[in-house]
Amino acid sequence: MEQPNPNGSAPVTSQPLLEAVELTRHFRLGGMFSKRVLHAVDDFSLTIHEREIVALVGESGSGKSTIARLLARIYAPTRGEISYRDRPLHRMRSRRALFAYRGEVTMVFQDPFSAFNPVFRVSHGVMRNLALHRPELTRQQRRQEAARVFESVGLSPSMLDRFPYEMSGGERQRVGFAQALAVRPKLILADEPVSMLDVSVRAGVLNMMAGLRDQEGVSILYITHDLASARYVADRVIVMYAGHLVEEGPTETILREPRHPYTQLLLSAVADPREKVETVSSDTGEPPRVINPGEGCRFRQRCPLAIEKCSHVTPRPKPIGAAQVACHVATGDTAELSVPTSGALG
């Protein structure tokens, strides 16, 4: 496999493949009359270009998996819009349009054990994908295509007839990618594809992902909680916290000059076995409240830089150099408004 693309390089085309604008998803907790609303994702915007790996980094409860499901159209957004190749998704109502979308945007799952139906061989998913999305192929051709796709993820075609329990976690994740590739997608939504794999196996899968971008021209939204692996494969990094986008930009920029306090906290918490740097933070890693959170920055309780404004004005992403940062202090937006917005005070 070739070396992954050097980070920070511009994508081949600048035509956005997928664009999400002010994406919001809420879940009502409790019964029909409950007032408790879980804000899984709020006002989240992103752009993915062709031939690009974008890492979506966040911890549990950050909303990153919800984003994947929104983009895969498993959930519908509460607000906001998703456009694929400039066509808004909500216009794609017909079964055919939806189906066509599914042939271009596919998903890979985190858990190599539950991602496969134990009753079927591992070829099942690939063959179904081919049968559904590439109906022009004959049965013979489908079989050949399945073999080709397996090879492109580094698996021998002889494994097509294995059952999931006969394969290791790393092999199964590759099958997951093979399934996604069978439809010849433009974008793969990879939801923590290596988190449940042994460390020694991850490198192979990460290298394979980079190869898919370079050789097959596929874009990947790489969802992870591990900044280090994001650095390794991704061209751009988006950091999420409590349903909000807090920082995004080219990988090296984000990692060398993190502006948002949460990004800085994440970076300091990542341990590198080759380094003996011990940074101490008193942060205990308590997850944020995203039930009826109200206005204001959701990181403020844990933030060493928090000011008065952070409690009642929600920071929006603003550009700093090549990055976008959602932090009043980092962007120098510390002045309070002279006229309070309605409901902000008292």
Partner: protein
């Protein structure tokens, strides 16, 4: 938690196509390894044999009134004769077929209905789920006996009506359980993957979900069969069957009508009763094997010879 290959259970052979055979072998091994299941399987085998070849076991005609009435047990009439001179043993054996068929058919249909309704409710969710759950609950609550008496007035007495009535009143039991099982797997990644592929809901339910539930379905079927044997017999005993059909339940009915116990012909009553109990026990015992397959923790513990079992 990082996962990889478990050192214990993975077949490193290039296993293509071995799994179905392996599953069958595993089942047989589970049945043979478990004494209760073996006993149950034997009982059922005998019953099936008697149902298939009754003539081999009881060459006498079951319904012809050829013999002196109310005879006790003897070498010629192993279980004596009825009030109108029929050979009880013969009747018993020849009734096996219909009894078994009714039990199996009712259990199978009821299990299918409960599976479709339960899984659909679980998978589709929302309003459909609520609707189907209400329907299930209604059928659960229906008081069976009054319903039967009502139906008995309209339906012709006999096996067909019996099957209809039994099916209607039995499917709801397992539907809840199958719905629960469906709920527990509806968010499994492979089902989400099927949705993301663009599969239709019907496909997902029938092809992706149901096959994963085969052992649960088999266990449901067996549990239902235990119940149906007794239930069918009870209904017939209450007069809701056709007394001229050859079933253990109708034998009980006829015996009761003839006041068999009072006239000292206990065998006529005891024999079909015991047969019903035996068939039920057979199904119940085999069900143990399924528990074991499903839950390895129930498997018998192998001890190393001469070694100390772990604390």
């Amino acid at each position: 938690m990082a996962t990889g290959v478990s050192a214990l259970g993975v077949a490193s052979a290039d296993g293509a196509g071995q799994v179905d055979a392996a599953r069958g072998r595993r089942f047989i091994r589970a049945v043979l390894g478990n004494r209760k299941a073996t006993a149950g399987a034997l009982i059922l085998l005998v019953i099936v044999f008697m149902a298939a070849f009754p003539g081999l076991v009881a060459p006498d005609s079951p319904q012809a009134s050829l013999y002196p009435p109310n005879l006790g047990a003897s070498s010629k009439h192993l279980l004596g004769t009825t009030q109108i001179g029929q050979d009880v043993f013969s009747q018993l054996i020849w009734s096996t077929r219909l009894t078994l068929l009714v039990t199996v058919i009712v259990s199978a249909i009821a299990t299918c209905i409960s599976m479709i309704i339960g899984v659909t409710a679980a998978y589709i969710g929302g309003v459909t789920d609520r609707l189907l759950t209400v329907v299930t609950d209604v059928f659960l609550i229906i008081p069976v006996l009054p319903l039967l008496i009502l139906l008995a007035a309209y339906l012709p007495p006999g096996v067909t009506s019996l099957v209809i009535v039994l099916t209607i009143t039995s499917w709801a039991f397992q539907a809840r359980q199958l719905r629960s099982q469906g709920l527990s797997i509806r968010n499994r990644d492979f089902l989400v993957a099927a949705r993301v592929r663009g599969e239709r809901a019907i496909y997902i339910i029938l092809v992706e979900i149901v096959p994963t539930m085969t052992s649960l379905l088999a266990a449901s079927f067996l549990a239902l069969a235990v119940f149906e044997v007794g239930f069918a017999a009870s209904l017939q005993f209450l007069g809701l069957g056709n007394s001229s059909e050859l079933m253990w339940g109708t034998m009980l009915y006829n015996a009761q009508q003839a006041a068999a116990l009072e006239s000292g012909n206990a065998l006529w009553v005891l024999a079909p009763g015991a047969a019903v109990a035996l068939m039920g026990a057979g199904f119940a015992l085999v069900n143990y094997a399924f528990d074991e397959i499903g839950n390895p923790a129930l498997r018998p513990v192998r001890r190393r010879r001469g070694g100390r079992a772990a604390a």
